[in-house]
Symmetry: C2
Subunit: 228 residues, 2 copies
């Protein structure tokens, strides 16, 4: 967590967020501050609650995990505020997104150009995701997957695997990090060919190396191109 984010939570009169994330910051919430926590899928409801409370004059902190601007709540809060013509000041406080947090655990896979793709087709049509998978794989981007699969949604990762193998060698290094920065964190450096046999859930970040990524010691490093 950044110093800036910590301070924002500590000074908030109201804290709004997905219940799992609110729990993670519970210890730094100001005594007496109002807490509005909700379930996954109720993002619009939370954004509306946050704007309403801010319009009542409260200093509100909306919590996302990682960076609120990467598949997080920043956009929807700005959109709801605009829709409701709320003139309350809104500040987006950046954080450490799962892509770079996972990269740090794995080594240094992202020191060159990379693409970030969510494999969840709940809010993005699958044909667009597929198009992005082809484009990123073909142009040799290192690729980071968010939301790779859930209990009821395993097809996207299987399909991504199939597409990646059209452009990358089966031996391409792949890093898998579960629960990055949280209790129970697990890190695996494996290869593309083993991807589907690894345990992957919604709290997993996957990084697929490009054609130059290699395993250094037990870590995944994409050479930046320096002459050593």
């Amino acid at each position: 967590m950044t110093l800036e984010a910590k301070q924002a939570v500590e000074t908030a009169d109201a804290v709004v967020g997905y219940k799992t994330y609110v729990k993670l910051v519970e210890s730094i919430i100001k005594p007496g501050a109002e807490v509005f926590s909700g379930i996954m899928g109720k993002e619009v409801e939370r954004a509306k609650a946050a704007v309403t409370k801010a319009l009542e004059g409260k200093r509100v902190a909306v919590i996302s995990s990682g960076d609120p601007g990467v598949y997080g709540m920043a956009g929807i809060v700005l959109e709801v505020a605009d829709l409701e013509k709320a003139k309350t000041p809104i500040q987006v406080i950046p954080g450490v997104t799962a892509a770079t947090a996972a990269a740090a655990r794995l080594g240094a896979p992202l020191v060159t150009d990379f693409a970030v793709i969510s494999l969840s087709d709940l809010l993005t049509p699958w044909n667009l995701i597929e198009k992005r998978l082809h484009a990123a794989a073909k142009a040799d981007f290192v690729i980071v997957f968010y939301n790779p699969q859930s209990v009821g949604r395993t097809k996207p990762l299987a399909k991504a695997y199939e597409i990646l193998l059209q452009y990358r060698k089966p031996e391409t290094p792949v890093g898998i990090v579960r629960q990055v920065g949280r209790k129970g964190e697990e890190t695996i450096v494996t290869t593309l060919k083993e991807l589907l046999s690894c345990e992957v859930d919604m709290a997993t970040t996957i990084i697929v190396g490009n054609s130059t990524t290699r395993v250094v010691g037990k870590r995944m490093v994409t050479p930046r191109g320096y002459d050593l």
Copy 2:
């Protein structure tokens, strides 16, 4: 800065980094700690110095701005340590990379799939950068440019502009942030067609919206797809 990064600098016996970045953390360096600061382009030398000092038993902090794993020093330190068969423990501490820091200032342009591309062809061949520009633009990724131009290197941005216009409307929102998180920070929300008339240097991050990105108030937001 994250709490973890702050603590690492505060407890280091030696701090190694590009001189501009070392200056930014000067106030939290432990009294008596050794400081090895160097110029741009001497990254290999700094990585070697860091590994040497660590092998002497010192606790060394290598500084990057933003996130050390995104075009930063993480990779080269791991590579140098491997090359020198140094068994010293190395921890990569993630930070807030310029992409998400700039996104936060601009609004929420990155709440969907995005690609990060450095326009510097010092370490990456230009034909590969060009291939990535086409791929990212065609597949409707929001695109973040690092190192967009320097005094002596203005062609890459002009070429990127030309490629982007083959796929995106001239009215596509573009955000430009200079010196993000530092003194003299400047933020501009403009359009693709105005890109080349804006002041852009090496300390600038540029975010080009995708086909759905719009201006909300004075900010740049890419809708995530929620039904409001």
